[in-house]
């Protein structure tokens, strides 16, 4: 198998990429094509092979079989010249602790692609890092900032970032998103990883879901969102649990139906004064029907969300509703579903974390 040469369209391409550590299969045949200028996320649980994949791109480790092209050259052949055009943020940071952040960054600058004067100070100001502090006194988040600076400072054509936002507070995460946007606006490509989707979904255009050394799914974040499950919740007044369940259960795409009685109805009315019943806090103010029957809460999932929302809303519109909530699609859940689906084919040799490195 030979990959097309000098396509220029893809910053990273792999075909049939396999990496074994002894008898442990860390990557079991990865085919990826990361378009130039996009933000591509790879997500997966610990041990899925994310770090292994990134180390292969940097020629820190070598593939057992398969092909890799990074910026149109194999990492091995590209050597230091290729790596001058890559910025790497390792998943596990081991920095020299006795130096100041500035000294360490200058040292990295001396072995990376050319860094413009003032660039390190500019990035440190953006992220809020004190460059004159000794590395050993930096918090985990501040060390991560230092690591981000050394990855971004020479404006590399490709950024390989292993869990870039881990340890960062939300404000700095936003700064990171801004840096990522600026980079892609410059035509730089970003390949980043996370074990949770929420950290990538804002930054990434596309996502590959990695599980036990294989890509389970590749999709754009929009596609994932479309296919993701939404949670819906309605509260009705005056119908029985069975009546509500029957009305909702027949709607296509509805699943995991769960009804329960929040308020028992007329018999015990003295205990349930209007407006203070649980589940009516977000009520519409139309409490007129409240005394006429039991209050029922019904929770359900809407899968294939875009397709299911319309029929669901249409079907419940005729009910005596007190509350209606349809949540944002939960991408995390979508991903967990994908992990679980591939559980049906257990791999012969599950990766063990100590041999596969910090995956």
């Amino acid at each position: 198998m030979t990959l097309p040469t000098s396509s220029g369209d893809y910053a990273v391409e792999t075909r049939g990429l396999v990496k074994r550590f002894g008898r442990t299969v860390a990557l079991a045949g990865i085919d990826l094509a990361i378009p130039t200028g996009c933000v591509f996320g790879v997500i997966g649980p610990n041990g899925a092979g994310k770090t292994t994949l990134m180390r292969l791109l940097l020629d820190i480790i070598r593939p057992t079989s398969g092909e890799i092209r990074v910026l149109d050259v194999s990492p091995r052949a590209g050597g230091s010249d290729l790596r001058s055009r890559i910025g790497f943020l390792p998943g596990e940071l081991h920095l020299q602790s006795g130096l100041t952040a500035r000294r360490l960054l200058n040292d990295f600058a001396s072995i990376s692609g050319p860094v413009e004067p003032g660039r390190i100070d500019e990035l440190a100001a953006t992220l809020g890092l004190d460059l004159d502090e000794r590395v050993r006194r930096l918090s985990k988040g501040n060390k991560q900032k230092l690591s981000l600076i050394q990855a971004f400072m020479h404006r590399p054509r490709l950024l390989v970032l292993d869990e870039p936002t881990s340890g960062l507070d939300p404000l700095v995460q936003q700064q990171f998103q801004a840096m990522a946007r600026e980079a892609t606006a410059n035509g730089q490509t970003i390949f980043l990883s996370s074990h949770v989707l929420s950290e990538v979904q804002d930054a990434a255009d596309s996502v590959a879901i990695l599980r036990q050394g294989s890509v389970v799914k590749t999709a754009t974040v929009a596609e994932l969102r479309e296919s993701a499950v939404r949670h819906a919740r309605i509260v009705t007044v005056g119908l029985s649990e069975t009546e509500v369940a029957l009305r909702v259960a027949g709607i296509p795409g509805v699943g995991r139906l769960d009804t329960r009685r929040l308020s028992p109805g007329p018999e015990t009315r003295p205990e349930t004064r209007p407006g203070t019943r649980p589940g009516t806090g977000a009520g519409t103010g139309a409490e007129t029907g409240a005394e006429t029957g039991p209050v029922i809460e019904c929770r359900a999932t809407l899968s294939g969300a875009v397709g299911a929302v319309g029929p669901f809303v249409a079907a419940v519109a005729g009910l005596p509703l007190q509350d209606l909530v349809i949540e944002e699609p939960n991408l995390e859940e979508a991903v967990l579903t994908l992990y679980a689906e591939s559980d049906t084919e257990p791999p012969t040799e599950p990766p063990t974390s100590d041999r596969a490195g910090h995956v």
């Binding site: 480790i61 070598r62 230091s80 130096l99 040292d107 072995i111 041999r355 596969a356």
Partner: protein, 265 residues
């Protein structure tokens, strides 16, 4: 920042305090030992030596202690200076790749625009230079005390001895570098380096004992360096070539070793 040897420059900047410490240790030892030669007087030292077991005298090369050059050879170049310089070199060699990798730092260095060969070669160069500096410090002190302590050492021989002193210490250092480059571990690197030094010293000491064991000298780097009594007779350049050649070979093997394997797994 725009150094042509960035990794070498970094080692130099990061480790000069350690170098100063080793220089102080060697200087202190030299300053304590060399003046003793005069205050004891040749006769009293000879008495001390006569009271020692013959085998120990041979093992320590103390049979030449009576002369100034013999005394300096036996105490500094042959024993304490040798021990300090060897320990320093093995430590630096073990740290250069194996220790750096085990600490998890080599990964990020190699992710930058440097080749693995460059990492090995620049760090080997830094180690070599530091060993030469320490040998130079020793030489300066020996020459400074030569007159005051009545050592009677020929300056040319002192210079040559310092060259082979450095070469002798570099061999275990490059061995540590090489084993670190192949294994990515610090302890095996240190053990291998120390083994070269200890075995060399032991083979020499055993070879000194009697004619039946003299063949051991041919296997001893220590004997290649000092068998000729360089402070008295000048250096045996064949021995120097052997030491320097082996060190160069070990550095080349280190380059091969680091280039052919996965890092930090």
């Amino acid at each position: 920042m725009s150094s042509s040897l960035p990794l070498f420059a970094k080692v130099a900047r990061d480790t000069w305090p350690g170098l100063v410490g080793w220089a102080a240790a060697i200087a202190g030892t030299t300053l304590v030992y060399l003046p003793l030669h005069r205050s004891f007087g040749d006769a009293s030292i000879a008495q001390v030596i006569e009271s020692m077991p013959q085998a120990l005298i041979k093992a320590l090369n103390y049979d030449l202690m009576a002369s100034g050059p013999g005394y300096v050879q036996a105490t500094i170049y042959g024993l304490l200076g040798f021990a300090f310089l060897t320990i320093a070199a093995v430590g630096w060699g073990g740290q250069a790749v194996g220790g750096d990798e085990e600490a998890g730092r080599l990964e990020l260095t190699l992710a930058h625009a440097v080749s693995r060969s460059r990492v090995v070669l620049e760090r080997a160069l830094a180690m070599t230079l530091k060993v030469i500096i320490l040998a130079g410090v020793t030489l300066a002190l020996v020459l400074a005390l030569n007159g005051p302590s009545d050592l009677g050492i020929d300056v040319g021989n002192a210079l040559e001895t310092s060259v082979i002193f450095a070469a002798l210490a570099l061999l275990p250092g490059t061995m540590a570098l090489c084993v670190g480059a192949w294994t990515g571990r610090r302890v095996p690197a240190l053990v291998a380096g120390a083994a070269v030094a200890v075995l060399g010293y032991t083979l020499n000491a055993l070879g000194n004992q009697d004619d039946n064991l003299e063949w051991m000298h041919t296997l001893s780097p220590y004997h290649w360096a000092y068998g000729n009594q360089p402070l008295i007779n000048g250096v045996d350049w064949g021995g120097f070539a052997l030491l320097a050649g082996l060190s160069a070979l070990l550095v080349a093997l280190a380059v091969v070793g680091l280039n052919r394997r996965d890092v930090s797994v």
